[in-house]
C-alpha cells in the first residue's frame, strides 16, 4: 500500500484556530492518559504548503494545559515566523515527516508502553503489526490482515541527523503510519489534526497490546 496526502487539498481546508483547538483537546486527553507527562511530546499542523508554514508547540509547554501562547509558526527550515518562545527541539523531525509523507499534522507522544516495548525489541529495525481489527483505524487500511510496518529508530540528540534517518525510512513507500524512537516514544501523522489524533490512539493501543504479548 502506498499513499500520500495531497498537500493542495490539505492547505485549502486548514483553519489555524481549529487546528490549535484540536491540538489543545488532544493534549489534554493524552496527558490524562499519561502519554505526555512532564511537558514531554509535541504536536504540529501544516498551515500553508507554499511557502511552508507549520504551527508547532513551543518547547517546555505543559501538554495537558496548552494555551494559544504555547504555539509558534515556523517555516520550512524551522525558523520562527510568528509567536514567542523556542519551537520544540524536535521541529526538524516534524518537518521531515511532513516532507516525506505529505501529512497535514504530526503528533509525538511518550507513553510507558512505547518506552517499554521499543526497549524490549532490542536491535530490531522494524516491527510488523498484523491481525488486529484496530489496524482499520489507520487511514487507508481495510482489513485486520493488513501488515503495518512500524520502524524503530535508535534515539539521538542530533535532530538533524535523526531527520535524515527519517527521510531514509521511505515512509511513503512502506505505507507506514508512524515510527518509534527507541526508549523515547511514538511519532505519527495524518491528513489533519483529527486523523493524527486517531492514529495516535490506534498506535498507542496496538503498542500496548504488543507490549503484553511479546
Amino acid at each position: 500500500m502506498m499513499f500520500r496526502y495531497v498537500m493542495s487539498e490539505i492547505a485549502e481546508k486548514v483553519d489555524c484556530a481549529a487546528a490549535t483547538a484540536g491540538i489543545v483537546a488532544a493534549g489534554r486527553d493524552f496527558y490524562r492518559r499519561g502519554w505526555v507527562l512532564g511537558t514531554s511530546g509535541n504536536f504540529s499542523a501544516v498551515l500553508e504548503v507554499d511557502p511552508r508554514r507549520v504551527l508547532i508547540t513551543r518547547s517546555g509547554a505543559d501538554k495537558g494545559a496548552l494555551t494559544e501562547q504555547d504555539f509558534l509558526t515556523v517555516d520550512g527550515t524551522g525558523a520562527v515566523v510568528e509567536g514567542m518562545g523556542r519551537p520544540s527541539a524536535e521541529t526538524a523531525l516534524h518537518l521531515a515527516i511532513v516532507s516525506a509523507t505529505g501529512a497535514g499534522a504530526v503528533m509525538h507522544t511518550h507513553s510507558v508502553s512505547s518506552t517499554v516495548f521499543s526497549q524490549k525489541e532490542g536491535k530490531v529495525k522494524s516491527i510488523a503489526i498484523t491481525g488486529y481489527e484496530m489496524l482499520k483505524g489507520l487511514s487507508g487500511v481495510q482489513s485486520h490482515t493488513h501488515r503495518e510496518s512500524l520502524p524503530i529508530l535508535d534515539n539521538s540528540q542530533d535532530y538533524p541527523a535523526l531527520a535524515g534517518e527519517v527521510e531514509k525510512l521511505q515512509l511513503r513507500e512502506r505505507g507506514s503510519h508512524g515510527f518509534l524512537l527507541r526508549a523515547h516514544g511514538l511519532y505519527t501523522w495524518g491528513v489533519d489534526v483529527n486523523e493524527a489524533r486517531r492514529h495516535t490512539e490506534i498506535l498507542e493501543f496496538l503498542i500496548e497490546v504488543m507490549r503484553w504479548q511479546s
Copy 2:
C-alpha cells in the same frame, strides 16, 4: 439457563432521546477507559420491533464525543431509514444479535484486555467464566457459581458471513450475554441501553481478570 427478551415489552418503553442520551454517556465513559479508542466500537438500540427500526452509531464517529448527528436509523435489512452518513460496517452483526437474542440494545467495545485475552486463548471456540461474584451483574444470573459461556469467533471482514456465524452460536440456548471476536473486541447486549452498558462493564471486568489469570 435460557432466556429471551420479550420484544413487545421492549418496544413500548423505548424513547429515542433517552436511548441516544444513554449511548452518548456510555461512549464518553468507555472512551475514558480506553475501550473505544480511535473511533472504534459501535452501539445500537431497537426503536421499533415491527417494522424493525434500529438506532445505530454512524461509521467513523468519535465514541467519546457522540452527538445526535452521529446516529442513524436502519431497518431490519440494515438500510438507512433516517439520518446522514454511513451506518457502522458491523450493522449486520448488531441485527443478527437482536434477532438471535431479542435484545433491545447492543454494544461493541475494543479493549486492550479483550484483544490480548482473545489472542492468548488460541483456537478455543468458547471460554467458560465461573466462580466470580461479578457474574451476578449479568441479567438473570443469581450466583457466582453460574457458568457463563463466552464464545470466541475468528475475526473476518465478511460481515454477512460473520452474522451467519453469530446465528449459529445459539446465543439464546447457551444463555450467553456476549461473545468475543478474536483480536477485535467484545459484543454484548441487554434489554435496553442501561443493561447493555452494565453488561459491557461486567464482561470487560471479567475479561481483564481472566487475562491476568490465564
Copy 3:
C-alpha cells in the same frame, strides 16, 4: 492492637445529608477507578445506634451516579424503615460488621486487583500485610512495621451464613480493618464515611501492590 469505635460518639456527630453526600462522592470516584463497575459494590453508614438505623445503598444502583433515591434506611434486622426499593443483598454483612467492630460506615468494592489477588492465594484463610508505609493510613496504625491481618472468606450466596462467618472472624480482637471475599471483593469500614473511604483507598492500594509481588 485491639480497638473498637465508640458508638455513642459516632451517633452524635452523624448527619444524614453529609453521610449521603460522602457516599455519593466516594461512589463516583471508585467508579472512575473501576472498583464498582456494573452496579457492583455497596455502602452504608450508621445513623442511630439505639434503635439501630443504618443508611444503605439500594440493590442495583449505579455506584458512579448515586442520587438520594438510591439510599434506604434499615433497622438492626435489615428491615426497611425508610426509602424505596430493595436494600443491598449484602445488608446482613454490613450489619454484622457494624456489630463486630462498632464502625460508623462500611464500604464494599469489587476491583480487578482484589479479585485476582484473592484467587491467587488459594485456600489461605488470612494474609498478613506488613512493611508498607501506606499501612499508616489505617486507623490506629503508627508504623510500617505493623502487621495487618486481612482475612479471606470463601464466597457464598448464603448471606446470613456469611454474616455468621464474619462474626467468627473476631475482627475486633485481630484489629483488622477489612477482609476479602474470594473472587468477590473487599469489605472495609471506619468511624465514619470519610475514614471508610480512606481505608478503601489504602487497602485497594496495598492489595494491588501485593497482587504484583505475590
Copy 4:
C-alpha cells in the same frame, strides 16, 4: 553534573497564593493518578529563605481536595509559624531536602509502581537510570545518555534520623533529582512548584518503566 538552586533567586519570585494553587492542582491530578491515595503524600514550598519560612500540607489532609485550610507555614526547625493543625510528620525530610539542594519546592508521592519497584530492588542503595528520553524532563539534563542516580533509603518512622540519612546522600554532589524510601514512596524537588510537579511526573514515569523492565 552538580547543581544547586540559588535561594535568593527563588525567594524573590515566590507568591504564596500561586504556590498554594500550584500544589492544590498537582494534588488533584496526582490523586486521580493514584499517587496520593488515602491522604498519603505531602507537598511543600519555600516562601522565605532567611528567616526560613516553608509552606507545607497539614498531616491527614486529602491530597485530591486540598483547600487553603490544609496548609501551614513552618520555620527552619519545623515549628508552626502560621496555620491550624499539625504539619506533616515528614516535615523534617522536606527541610533536610531544602537545605541539601536549595530547592524551592518538595513533593512526596506514594505510587504502586514506586512501592513495587523499591521492594523488588532488595538491598540496593541506589539505582542508575539511563537511556530514556524522559530523563530530559529533569532540570539540567540534556541527553537520554545522562546517568541519573536515584538513591533508595530504607524506610523508618524516626524522621529526624531519616533526615540525617538524607543529608548523607549528598544529593547536590550526585546531581540527584529525587530518592526513594523503600516500600514507601518518592521524594523529588525543584526550583519551584511547577518544576517539582514536572519532576514528579518524570520520575514516576521512569519508575513505572523500570518496574516492568527489571
